[in-house]
């Protein structure tokens, strides 16, 4: 039987506001443990939260950029559960009146456009961080708590279950990150935990309209892991169903080392969060004027960027999407243009040679040694016929591996294309002299024989000859000899 995978994604993003969401503490990452805390974020008895309006605006901005309705009246709720990193034993969150709802985002996978619904975008507070002297909280000899992170504003973005493949899920996340970075509400660093995601996966027979039981996957720390986790999980579920079993609604833990999901807890073991309206905060009214003001601060978003790439640089739809949907690629592309690269050639390299090299080495484009300036220099030499395309690829590989200036590398390796006519003519004469047979054939009227001679000339110059010029010079020399006969 053929199965269809159904995916919904929840993303948590820490907002990059100066201060925390309900107190004045700083939000800097990496500070000494428990140095950015106060009675409010430590949940001491009797203290009260005061809402940071900047955090509300960042959440509104994200919601608006995701085409959400930003509601007029909203409120906060308490999500109650016990855990040592949650000092009040409840998290102030939003239950039934999120700041944003009913939005959407378009992604493109294999040249096909797809609209993914955004169910809600809401604001809540971050928890503290546990550091275990051991593997986990149950087996550790002792655990320590760092509350610096506690109270940093967090937004949760919940998609509809609209994705049907791991590729779509990845495209969604890449573009979501790109949008959030563009509007500047978060640094979206998965490795520092400022962006985290959970995927809900279920499968159903191809053509079915019913949904299967879903599993919720936690601990996914990279986009690559999301892809792998979804692939693994949909196959696991298919195996369960094909062997006559039943998929249970449960939460599973992604083990990145083993590349598999493992059972964490069943639906029955799930927390009852006992949500109720937060009595310490008054309901929040978001009026039209405020929404409009926030809307005005939203800069160019990926979709607009794509349109600009097509219109201004003549890029194709596919390349434009590929680059504009990814913030890092867009940044690279625009820096490259700024450094003088020709747009189409740059886009070609970025989606071809560069993409392949990044993929093969597992490098992020933002840390590529062949940066936009290097790439612009390389492409400039190709455009001016200083090096051949083939040489460019060799130089690129070197620069990608070791870094440095492509021009200097060309000079050092003596790879510059021979464009000086005299130098190349000498070499052409030598080739003709060394190959009397083919030369005679050409003179006798077999025009195709020139191809062999061009090849020989390229070989003799180690590819540094401009093929067009080589062809021209060889013909001139032979035609001259023909006349002299």
């Amino acid at each position: 039987m053929s199965w269809e995978t159904v995916i919904g994604i929840e993303v948590h993003v820490e907002l990059s506001t100066e201060s925390k969401v309900f107190c004045g503490c700083k939000t800097r990452f990496g500070a000494r443990p428990n140095t950015q805390v106060c009675p409010v974020c430590l949940g001491m008895p009797g203290v009260l939260p005061v809402l940071n309006r900047k955090a509300v605006e960042y959440c509104m901005k994200a919601a608006l950029a995701l085409n959400c309705e930003v509601s007029g009246r909203t409120k906060f709720d308490r999500k109650n559960y016990f855990y040592p990193d949650l000092p009040k034993a409840y998290q102030i969150s939003q239950y039934d009146m999120p700041i944003g709802k009913n939005g959407w985002m378009d992604v493109e996978v294999d040249g096909k456009a797809k609209r993914i619904g955004i169910r809600r975008v809401h604001l809540e507070e971050e928890t503290g961080k546990l550091v275990h002297a051991g593997d986990d909280i149950t087996s550790a000899e002792s655990s320590m708590i760092d509350f610096n992170r506690c109270g940093i504003p967090l937004i949760e973005i919940v998609s509809e279950a609209d994705m049907r493949s791991a590729d779509e899920a990845r495209a969604y996340l890449v573009k979501l990150r790109s949008i959030l970075l563009a509007i500047g509400v978060s640094d979206c660093k998965m490795e520092e935990g400022s962006m985290r995601c959970e995927a809900n996966v279920s499968i159903r027979p191809e053509g079915s309209t019913e949904f299967g039981a879903l599993t919720e996957m936690k601990n996914i720390a990279s986009f690559k892991a999301v892809y792998k986790a979804i692939e693994f999980e949909s196959k696991r579920q298919a195996k369960v169903l094909e062997s006559g079993g039943r998929v249970r609604r449960e939460t599973r833990h992604w083990d990145d080392l083993k590349s598999e999901t493992v059972f964490m807890r069943s639906k029955e073991q799930a927390h009852d969060y006992r949500y109720f309206p937060e009595p310490d905060l008054v309901p929040l009214e978001i009026d039209r004027a405020w929404t409009d003001r926030v809307k005005d601060t939203i800069p160019e978003l990926p979709d607009q960027r794509k349109a600009r790439y097509v219109a201004d640089y003549g890029l194709g739809q596919r390349e434009s999407s590929l680059i504009s949907d990814d913030m890092d690629l867009s940044t690279y592309f625009e820096k490259g243009i700024e450094a003088g690269a020709e747009a189409k050639a740059l886009a070609n390299w970025m989606t071809g040679e560069l993409a392949a090299a990044l993929n093969a080495s597992g490098t992020e484009i933002s840390s590529s040694k062949a940066g936009p300036a290097e790439m612009a220099e390389l492409l400039g030499m190709v455009a001016k016929n200083e090096i051949s395309g083939k040489t460019a690829k060799e130089v690129f590989a070197e620069v990608f591996a070791k870094g440095g200036s492509p021009r200097k590398m060309v000079e050092a390796m003596g790879l510059g294309q021979i464009s000086g006519e005299e130098e190349l003519r000498k070499a052409a004469v030598a080739v003709i002299d060394a190959n009397p047979g083919p030369s005679a054939d050409y003179i006798a009227g077999k025009e195709n024989a020139i191809m062999f001679l061009v090849g020989q000339l390229m070989k003799a110059t180690k590819g540094r000859a401009n093929p067009k010029m080589a062809n021209q010079l060889l013909k001139q020399e032979l035609d001259g000899r023909k006349k002299n006969l």
């Binding site: 009675p39 949940g43 008895p45 009797g46 040592p84 034993a89 009595p279 310490d280």
Partner: protein, 489 residues
Amino acid sequence: MELYEFGVGQLAEAFEKGIASPSEALSSVLERIAGLEGEVRAFLLTDEEGARKAAAKADGLWLAARKGGTKPSALTGMPFVLKDNICTKGTRTSCGSRMLENFVPPYDATVAVKLAGSVLLGKSNMDEFAMGSSTENSAFGPTKNPWDTRAVPGGSSGGSAACVSAGFAPFALGSDTGGSIRQPASLCGVVGLKPTYGRVSRYGLVAFGSSLDQIGPFARSVEDAAMVFEAIAGHDPKDSTSSPRPVPDVRKACSKGVKGMRIGLPKEYFANGLDPEVRDLVMKAVLRLKDEGAEIVEVSLPSSMYGLAAYYLAATAEASSNLARFDGIRYGLRDLGAKDVVSAMKRTRSQGFGDEVKRRIMLGTYVLSAGYYEAYYNKALKVRRVLKDEFDEAFAKCDAIAGPTTPEVAFRFGERTEHPLSMYMSDIYTITANLIGIPAISVPCGLSKGLPVGLQLAARAFDEETLFAAAAEVERGSGFAGRIGGGAR
């Protein structure tokens, strides 16, 4: 007349004129406390040294004022007491619980900051986490009623009420979630005010029912209470639910009289369960208001009977969440015998909380749990809205609502501890003001069987002016102002 018998206004005048100094007033109350505290047990902590320092500082300020310097605020140098659920920086705040027996807050409640120039004598006893109506739920033993030490002082702010009644302090602060200021004020024969929700900052008040809690004053006269109210009220940026409205001049309102004021009597408040003597004393006071020019109108609050149920759903739900933070991880009691974090939390909470607190946490947890929220918590919210509508309707016909504060005078120790519901009943007249956020005050209006009876007045939200005008008139009629607990001498 001894200085400990002086009220807030009288002491302020004495300080200003140099008739007495804050240190002299302090000595007088400390002597009074030394003589009677062994019997009354109103304090959980006294800070004589801190008080003497504060008084000496205030002496200087009043002295400087008399020499032509700036006049300090009226409450400067005034001895007072805080209920032990109001956080005081560097001074233990226990909430009457083993859970916080050693908890010293690193911050002050906003009201404590506002009263920084006054002289804090100590922290008063209370029902654990403000849950109770007799102080019998204090983990550190009950407080006695200064009028009769066999009787309870009421609760949960029983210690503060007893302090003011016994002459330990001219004023004290308490907190009122369902009557916790007004009921003990009534039982101890003092004035107790629950301000409009949002009038006084809750910052630093250890929360019980966040949407119901308000801090308010106890004093031996209405005008004294007015002075304290003015000192602690006003918007606080640290409390989002505090109101930016300007605080009215309620001291002036005390001499306004009730001519033309319409006083509403809810017929439901004078029905079953009300002690006939209490009823008669309240009615007599109401008739005196009529003699002074007030118009008495009958109003109806038919849904009042659902108030108690709605209260116990809303308050326990919020409490279950508010008290969840006491898990032994960061401060307060911690059970050291546990092997893992879950059992450490469970054991800490089992040992740290008393029965009534546990009962309410369980009740509140149940009320909020999946599948019951609609039936309980949401229904309680609906009742609150209905009650508000009924009060709005009543306030269209009258300016203030009068009735008894409690159905009976102070009961004896142990009388109601076996039956939590009978204890809950003593709040039947007070809880609606909390449910809809309006201000209410209890004023003594006489004695029944030798024990004080309180009359409760309620007014529209933020109309404390009307409340004080009417309360002062009741006080003039009863002649109770300034009286010190009868049994304590």
